[in-house]
């Protein structure tokens, strides 16, 4: 008989780690929504942001700054790096590629991925750099009800909280601020937005900047979890099924997709894995996504694709 305790434990940790994938997926959604670019470089942006943060942090701490002021300065430095990246991407790659079809833009972001991966490692080093912002141990809840208690990793909870704050912040930004409204206008119709005086170049810079900041937030959580190192770019691949389940254009979709993928793959690994050989979570997320897409081809929250001749 499968223990209820274990089931709940796997379910919770799955839901929470799903939210961590959502952090990466959010960056994809923001850019796709505003400019129709499928930004493959999101994983590399997380790496760049993480490296910039951890290296400047180490440097400041080594030079006698107190830890928390070093963290703030480090975050500012990393945010600045992401702003420069956003400006360069917009100015040198996507600006000239305006009005090209989706596949070309996708390919261009792969080019950007290469440049970012090379540059980030060249400037900041290719070693593994530990980042200690959040506690990484665990709580054991309800020890009275279940033998050994229910295990909940603190870092996962932190990730969940941060994701919630981030989504709330993004919602406010999109609904209440002038720039946010302009972003939504651009997402709806480029030409119409331009005709009421919204500068597309500026908006796209802002979008890449916001995606860069989301990458920075993802980097703080994932960097604490794994240490900042090259392997972080592989997170992009874990974020893709999240993305297509939720739909490319929906911020809440990214969160819901994350929850589904996280819980689904962890439960599959725990209950299906032992029978067919383990290590199934990588493909299970994609198969889950495939099944969802067969029912809803645009993802759960994606905009309906209306085709006309």
């Amino acid at each position: 008989m499968i223990g209820l305790g274990q089931f709940l434990e796997v379910l919770f940790s799955g839901l929470l780690s799903g939210v961590l994938y959502s952090l990466v997926a959010l960056g994809f959604v923001l850019i796709f929504k505003a400019s129709g670019v499928f930004n493959f470089a999101q994983g590399a942006m997380v790496l760049l942001a993480g490296l910039a943060l951890v290296r400047s942090l180490d440097f400041l701490v080594a030079n006698g700054f107190p830890f928390w002021s070093a963290v703030i300065l480090g975050l500012l430095f990393a945010a600045m790096i992401m702003a420069i990246t956003a400006w360069m991407v917009q100015r040198f790659v996507l600006g000239p590629l305006i009005n090209q079809d989706g596949l070309t833009l996708f390919m261009a972001t792969i080019g950007i991925t290469f440049v970012l991966e090379g540059a980030a490692q060249m400037i900041f080093g290719s070693d593994v750099y530990p980042l200690r912002l959040f506690p990484t141990d665990a709580w054991f809840l309800f020890e009275g009800n279940f033998p050994g208690g229910l295990l909940v990793s603190k870092i996962d909870v932190w990730g969940g909280l941060i994701a919630a704050v981030l989504v709330a912040g993004l919602a406010v930004f999109f609904q209440r601020t002038k720039t946010g409204r302009a972003l939504r206008a651009v997402a709806d119709d480029h030409a119409a937005a331009q005709s009421v005086g919204i500068s597309l170049n500026w908006i796209w810079f802002i979008v890449w900047l916001v995606a860069g900041l989301v990458a920075l937030v993802a980097a703080t959580v994932w960097g604490t979890k794994l240490g900042v190192q090259f392997s972080i770019v592989f997170l992009a691949l874990k974020a893709l099924p999240v993305l297509i389940i939720g739909g490319f254009t929906s911020v809440p979709g990214a969160i819901v997709g994350g929850l589904i993928v996280g819980a689904g793959e962890k439960l599959a690994e725990a209950y299906l894995g032992p029978f067919i050989g383990g290590g199934i979570e990588y493909w299970f997320a994609y198969v889950l996504a495939l099944v969802v897409l067969m029912v809803r081809p645009q993802g759960l929250y994606g905009e309906r694709i209306i085709e006309r001749i």
């Binding site: 780690s17 665990a138 190192q229 690994e269």
Partner: protein, 438 residues
């Protein structure tokens, strides 16, 4: 257009080739397949530095091997098999006598090169990794899994666990799990562990982790439920530190986790901070720390600024790089005794490996005392040693916590023989008769 591209490619190849004749003839070319970038770079860098520094030391301190200068070139593989094959093809023909020997530091590249080296007659030194059955020199004349194979490691690990529990009879009905990198590297030890499990009656369970191993939550939750008595870790790169962190998160005691010698270096434990304290790992004989050779390195190589080595000096993987180069250089020296003090070909170096006999005195003379025990290779036995120790991370340093264990060849030899025979049958190889080799 296609021709144009070819011409362009030809230009670069030619340009590199044209530097060939300018080289002096009294040079030994040694290639180095490295990965200083990509997901496994934190582990690849110290090893590559150790390999290069020892060669530089030989040149700087001794003026080469018996007067023959070492010329070496690195090629970045990024741990990818196809890139490794390209590097191999690029470097194999360089220098007056071609490449001396290859050490790819990747099980995948080792498997691919195993198919190519017999044709090119270049030895493959896979110290502590690669095909376990390539110990059999009759079937694998060009592979040298010197110092230890994964089967040796698995066997020694079980011996240590038995000792902790108080004897092999105590292993009965215990549970031992293996968390492994889902690749040929991680799968190699399973056969040896299963053999031991049958012998002592413990339950063995393999738990695969998909490359690159950044997500292991469900694996460790199942361990938490399963409560095995010991967990073995066969990881590489980010997978090791992630495993330690997850072990800490699920509250599995770290002193019941033991890694293979590729999971027991500084980049594996430092990212997890205090959580790594108590974690154990096998040693490929040597550990971290300085021996006599390090003083020479500081004086002749590091001090003169001829090396990129920084913090990794005298770390575990750096020392392993030194040892790797030392074995290669000694094999070349052995070959020179027979063939004269000139650059050696791959075939001659293979003879050198097969007749390599590192005695305790020689090891002391080389400054490697305490890092390696005496080792003797032969035509039949391309491994030469069956011993390993266990070390434990105390939060700052690796501490050796055991004496040398000797792997049980009664268990492993039949396995080597079977696997080699199967390979020979599949590839239609007639094994050499080692009694006829000089």
């Amino acid at each position: 257009m296609r021709k144009l591209t070819l011409a362009l490619a030809a230009f670069a190849v030619g340009a590199t080739a044209s530097t060939g004749p300018a080289m002096a003839q009294n040079e030994q070319f040694l290639p180095s397949l490295v990965y200083r970038t990509g997901p496994y770079a934190p582990n690849g860098i110290p090893f590559a530095n150790g390999v290069a520094d020892y060669w530089t030391l030989i040149n700087e301190r001794d003026g080469g091997i018996n007067g023959v200068k070492i010329v070496f070139e690195e090629c970045e593989t990024g741990y990818a098999t196809d890139k490794g094959v390209e590097c191999y093809e690029r470097l194999k023909g360089k220098g007056p006598t071609g490449a001396g020997y290859f050490s790819p530091l990747s099980t995948g590249i080792t498997f691919a090169l195993t198919e190519k080296v017999p044709g090119d007659k270049i030895p493959l030194l896979t110290m502590g990794y690669g095909r376990s059955e390539s110990r059999n020199g009759a079937v694998f004349p060009w592979n040298f899994v010197a110092v230890g194979s994964y089967w040796t490691a698995a066997d020694v690990a079980i011996q240590h666990i038995a000792k902790e529990f108080g004897g092999f009879d105590k292993l009965k009905d215990k549970k031992i799990s293996l968390v492994y990198h889902d690749s040929p590297y991680g799968k190699e030890p399973i056969a040896a562990l299963e053999a031991r499990a049958k012998l002592h009656g413990f339950t063995f369970k393999g738990i695969p982790v998909t490359h690159p191993g950044v997500e292991q939550k469900s694996q460790w939750l199942s361990i938490r439920q399963d409560r095995p008595d010991y967990v073995l870790l066969w990881g590489w790169g980010v997978m090791n530190s992630t495993a330690i962190k997850e072990a800490a998160a699920v509250g599995y005691p770290r002193d019941k986790v033991m890694g293979v010698w590729w999971s027991g270096a500084e980049p594996d434990v430092t990212p997890a901070g205090d959580q790594s304290t108590g974690y154990k790992a096998l040693m490929l004989q040597h550990g971290a720390g300085k021996a006599k050779v390090h003083a020479d390195l500081e004086k002749h190589v590091i001090g003169k600024g001829k090396s990129p080595t920084k913090d990794d000096f005298a770390q575990v993987l750096y020392n392993r790089g030194l040892l790797n180069s030392m074995l290669g250089v000694e094999a070349i020296r052995t070959a020179m005794k027979k063939y004269g003090n000139k650059p050696m070909t791959g075939e001659q170096i293979r003879w050198g490996f097969e007749n390599l006999n590192l005695t305790a005195d020689r090891i002391k003379e080389l400054g490697f005392e305490g890092m390696v025990s005496p080792i003797k290779l032969s035509c039949e036995d391309h491994q030469g040693a069956d011993v390993a120790r266990v070390q434990q991370w105390d939060g700052k340093n690796w501490k050796v916590i055991s004496e040398y264990y000797t792997a049980d060849r009664k268990i492993l030899d039949p396995m080597v023989k079977d696997a080699a025979a199967k390979y020979a049958a599949e590839k239609k190889i007639t094994p050499r008769d080692c009694s006829k080799e000089s």
